[in-house]
Symmetry: C3
């Protein structure tokens, strides 16, 4: 079977952009299967684009092609690329930081810049358009790759993976009885916030499910939260409305309020300027 195309963008479904992209795919090959990853990445946020790829990719069949279009630099000299990951997925995306987490955690083994002369939509009157590569370049090229019209080599010229545009990654620091990291991303629906600290290392540092842990959160090095909270396996291990430190869906240490919002309750956001320190 031909690989599935999974799309993520910051376009929303409020107008016809997604519909136009999907039409391009189906016009290349009616058989191709399209799945919405999400079209609600925060606008221009290549960090979130990068994280969402990392969060969901591993659950898909090998060979799946991810089309990620969060592209604030569309029409500027940033590269439009197709990356091949160490575990056998393709990512069709602007090379603008959107590849960071997958390259850091899994590894990108090869990357090619899309050749617009070959892999750009023609015949629809959009040859003069510079602002919708999601439709004219990424969807079209991804569909050709999925359909087998081109192989990976047919995308365009290869460049070295060292050239991939990367956001700065922050490593957690753990020692017996202490773990320090950043608030790396949120769950914007439920108001949970995820650290970059692996739960396995957290457990190895001596923290135990069911015990209280001292949590301090700093924003720009200024303390904004300091409380002992229960560390446990699920939200329901504390009462409704109570905060909890829990093991999230990616086996990372995370913060939640049971049936509430940690981010709204405590006005905590995420990013490299948000530091967390856990002590026993």
């Amino acid at each position: 079977m031909k690989p599935i195309l999974v799309f993520q963008t910051d376009f929303t479904y409020k107008e016809g952009a997604v519909c136009a992209m999907y039409g391009v795919v189906k016009s290349v090959d009616r058989e191709l299967e399209i799945i919405d990853g999400t079209h609600e990445i925060p606008q221009f946020d290549t960090w979130s684009a990068s994280y969402r790829l990392y969060q969901s990719m591993r659950f898909w069949p090998e060979g799946t092609i991810f089309v990620s279009v969060v592209d604030p630099g569309v029409g500027t000299p940033r590269r439009a690329s197709v990356a091949l990951t160490a575990d056998g997925y393709y990512i069709v995306s602007p090379d603008n930081g959107s590849l960071t987490h997958v390259h850091d955690a899994v590894g990108i083994t090869a990357i090619r810049e899309i050749d617009e002369n070959v892999n750009r939509l023609k015949g629809k009157g959009t040859e003069g358009v510079s602002i919708f590569h999601g439709r004219d370049l990424f969807s079209y090229c991804a569909a050709r790759l999925a359909s087998g019209i081109i192989e990976f080599e047919g995308v365009g010229p290869a460049y070295t993976v060292e050239e991939i545009v990367m956001h700065t990654m922050h490593r957690p620091k753990l020692r017996e009885g202490r773990a320090e990291g950043i608030l790396e991303i949120n769950d914007p629906n439920f108001g949970n916030i995820w650290t970059n600290i692996p739960t396995q290392k957290f457990l190895e540092a001596g923290f135990k499910y069911g015990e209280k842990v001292n949590l301090t959160i700093l924003h720009d090095e200024k303390e904004v939260f300091s409380e002992p909270l229960i560390f446990d396996m699920s939200f329901g291990d504390v009462s409704k409305g109570e905060p909890i430190i829990y093991n999230n869906e990616l086996m990372l240490v995370a913060l939640a309020v049971n049936q509430g919002s940690f981010t709204d309750t405590y006005q905590i956001r995420y990013g490299p300027d948000w530091t967390v320190v856990f002590t026993k």
Copy 2:
């Protein structure tokens, strides 16, 4: 053909959760067809989850498998189950009230608790995760059932349908010239509100399309609205901006403002504490 999987959750599309779930399904069996029912059930609202299943299920082919994940008790001892309805659909869901309307109106004839030893995702590093049964348990088990890898008996141990967790249902009371019920649910997009009174019984009680009806709404037994309104077949039977009593899509008596919002205009919500009385 293999049964379709129709999903409803309170996850939204704001991050990668839905994408991860669908990846799990496709990794079980590439052929399976996934349809979004909705991912915008109000958070933790098992009443709405229950109603939305009831609202849409009958329109699907027999054998369709509904995966409903509104799961405030994830990781607690609430049961994760697969139910079989009297009209031949499957519902894969936490047994937490989400099955209420279908069980009440159609009937659930058999239910089984998902055996985590057999029907939980393995090999993706999520064995230690307790907070995402939508991905690790419900999607995975539903995909196995749809694919034919397991039969219904392979889900896990059966339990009696009398044990199903039910919300309290409220019955309307009708007599000649009078109908009393509750505001059971809303249409959150258009601001319409639906009662639990069947239009057929309403007509039998002597109410007639095109005639004025006295409507009183009580909240916690206190009157909050009392006006004679036209009862008719469609919104356009009153002027734009005017309120109307109408026959809704499920043949229930409902309240709307033509091209407006009844709920916003009159500050009316829904639930068992919202009573409606119609008199001639």
Copy 3:
């Protein structure tokens, strides 16, 4: 292969309406492929419905069937129709202005009113419902057409294309060094606003990429914006936060703020009462 069904409505995914419609399609024919165009057309806004069809239709394979349900007059005598376009697409829609742009720009060559006696859902207890033609009429009829159960002639009686309900279209006026038009529609996600002025004609009038252009915006003939702005090919041709006149995805002159929102920054909306004048 059977034609794809592309849906657009103003229903959102907040409740079970879309799910019920798609169930109807799949109950007619399991093989039919359904794609979300958008379910976030602004409520009752047949102008936007019309524009979104025009915006995306050309990118789909010939024969694709678009089901457009923005239907403020549901249950009133407005016609429920299937239109055939000059380029070979079908549109299943209320004939209420939703066909305007496609008919104006491409041409509708034949149109038929849906015969409710033949092409309305039966056997699901919704025969008495007047307010959900999206489910009971449009989806059902579209599925029968896509499936080959009926031909176009089987939709119902033909009527002349001159009878199609049209919104008023506004034509741009261009001469050397001057272009006048309206703000025809927005991109509600990114806050861009699109004029009705073709970029090709704009270039022919002497405007050049990379040069400053004097832009005046009038609302109800009162000046609300007057500034010289750069006209260029993409957002990134000005600094972040700066306004720009650009060539949009449909080769029309449009207004944006780079990585910002033109509509929010300058409080500019769209519609026939919003006039734009560009001069050198």
